[in-house]
Amino acid sequence: MLQERLREIEHDIYTCAQCAFCTATCPVAEQKGWETYGPRGRMYLLKLILEKDIQANDQIKDRFYACTTCSRCEKVCQTDLKLIEIWEDVRSWLVEDNMGPLEVHKGIAESVAQNHNTYRESAAKRDAWAGDIKLNRKGKIAFYVGCTSSYKMQQLAQDSMKVLQSLDEDVAVLGEDEWCCGSVLLRTGQRRQIKEIVDHNVQTLKNTGAEIVVTSCTGCFKTIRDDYPPIYGNKLPFKVMHITQYLAQQIESGKLKFAKSINEKVTYHDPCHLGLHAGEYEAPRAILRAIPGLKLIEMDNIREESHCCGAGGGLKAGMPDLALAIGQVRVNEAEETGASILASCCPFCKTNLSQAIEAGHKNLVQKDITALVVEAMGLNA
């Protein structure tokens, strides 16, 4: 029962000062306005449930799923509460009580169970993105492709692979053995399959012999790097890097060189799972600054104060209109910089920001940083 489970976080519930620093910065609260949609309100709802003043119901479920898990709230919390853990725990307790998740999230979990991907695609076609690109199963580096790049954004998978192979021939991919990392399941409180997924992925990644696992999705990156170790029960037998971190290192060491200029103004959106969650703000910027011709113009809210794109935490699937509205706020900010390119480095941000650009008829193109690197290296010829 949720009410009983809440005892595990009782001290946090009473510690919350109700100062609303979190709500004032929350992208969902900004859109919805009402207290119940903000993190402070949710902390108070938990207190009311704990004290048996109210019981969990569909409205409460709705409020707890109206969250991108962007972590802005946690960054500004007056009393240093680990709010993301709280949001994900509560979602998992709603799932235990058969109250959560949202219908669409259940479908995703079923798909992961059956096909090892979130899109009901065939597991056997996990490598189909590669086309003519030659793939290895062993290597010094393993490229963890992710569900979205494997099936829906195959250009990103190809671009990532092209760059990685141009730097190091020994790049492994897992093919059919690459299971969905489980990010969506963890974010939406569906923890049942997760142990099996983690053990499988860690083992198969280990089998490639790779010392470094590179991801082009920030969701996969955060999940494998931060969520896997406690579930796996040990330190991971490899290092996990987001592709921008890896590429920034290669630029720094002089190994990655650019052949072409891109004479455009670019602004950069920090994906929450790379920035706010993992504290990596510099690597993507270092790449953009290194590309000849590109001029980086920053938005008002960046790095630790960055605003979410709206897609995370299962919100894009669960409440697409809300996700899009949040994306539009970010796109407006990008437009104000006068840049022609809105760069980022996460397939979820890409989807939502591109849709927000389209919906707002903006004079902007969304590009992944890896695509810009491919272009400037002259690899897309």
Binding site: H11, Q18, A24, T25, G33, E35, T36, L45, L48, I60
Partner: protein, 485 residues
Amino acid sequence: MNKALEQQLVELLGPDSVSMTDIERRLYAHDMAPVPKILGLVWKFMPDAVVRPSSVKQLQQLMKFAHENSIPVVPRGRSTTMMGGAYPIYGGISIDMTARRGIIELDESAGTIKVKAGTYWEAVLKFLEKRGLTLYCYPTSAPSSTIGGWIGNGGVGLGKGGLGIGSSKYGYAADTVVDLGVVLPTGEYLESIEATELKAEDFIGSDGVLGIMDTITLKIHKLPARQEPFCYDFKDFDKLCSAVAEIALLKPFFLLIEDKVMLDFKKLAKLHVPMAQNLLTVILAGDDEAQFKLDIQTMGKIISAYGGQELSKEIAKEEWQGRYYAMRHKSAGPNLLGGEFCVPTSNFKESIRRVKKLGVAKNIQIAIHGTLGVNEVLVMPQVLSDERKKFRYLTMMSLVKELNDLSIKLGGIPYGVGLFNAFYAKEIHGAKLAELIRLKKSLDPRNIMNPGKATHCSTRFRITLPKFAYGMGMRGLGLFVKHGG
């Protein structure tokens, strides 16, 4: 009744701006301070409806409707006060002002900025700082509190309002306000209060009992040429207090006092604290370089005369950066119970001596957090407590009253009015109380604007409670819980 009310409100404001759900209404029935449930017997905290008007026209229609039907309305910013001003005590309509946000006009030549009342202080600060400008003063809750909320907050009384960052140099909240746009309880809209017979200061610190501030024009100035934080350690807290009285004459931009017990609370909450006994943080700001240097020298002399030790610039910067986080140590409680009062700067030392004596008598550790105001120090003595231990929590609440009374004896006042300090309306508003009551009667003949606040304290049955009953109530409540629940 509620279905009909919902229908009427939806007709006025549209479905997206009205909520009647149980969970929403519960969230508009409190502020930052946990209120013992038992007080629900005396007051009706839950609004019947919550609305989020987004235009002045909607606000007017809403007030007209409430006036015609004699429905109580409570303006609410972010409800980050602790005195019960921002939630109802007779039910009615809670007006969430945060949909009225944004900057209307920056007029650099006039040195003003006009904003909507529901805008966050920090948003205005950031907007200005990007343009090399800033505000004169703002509350330390700037990230989440609204312009209207702080200007409405009772603070040190009608016509003055709150104390915040910058107050020790530039004055009270009222000293920073140029004009207001106000929707009166009848629905009439005064776009510029200064163009009428009323004055902006009539509304500042009035806890929303006279009308709804819709726009606020604030004074602005250029970012100071120099601003620098300093931090000092004092072995002897008495001497720190003496130093504060002298440093106050330099008109620092901000001055923060934290005693040893406060640092202990922070350690209990596993926070990193500087190696120090009692901390004094001072921010100096100014445009005149020669004067700035002179002030630093003078301050240095005061500090050494009272045995203070300067700490590193890193520590000073951290203290300044943490200025919005006065409750970071709350997990040590998990509740912080205490008072908030002002005493004349000259009596600050004596007030602390008495607070500490009270702590000894009650065998509790009272921590001191203080900030310098205009002619006063705003003191927040606090104890660690736990609202789940109901009996002890309720009895500890009597401490609040004792602290308030202590401040009055020393020529000070409890800080903020709202509901719970309305017992001290005479002391806090002073001579202005009569004016507030007169205005209330003439502007709000049906007594629908935040009724029961700011001028007197009454129960849900509209029986006015005298102050002694409050004191007794605080103790009596403890007994009630002990025997009753």
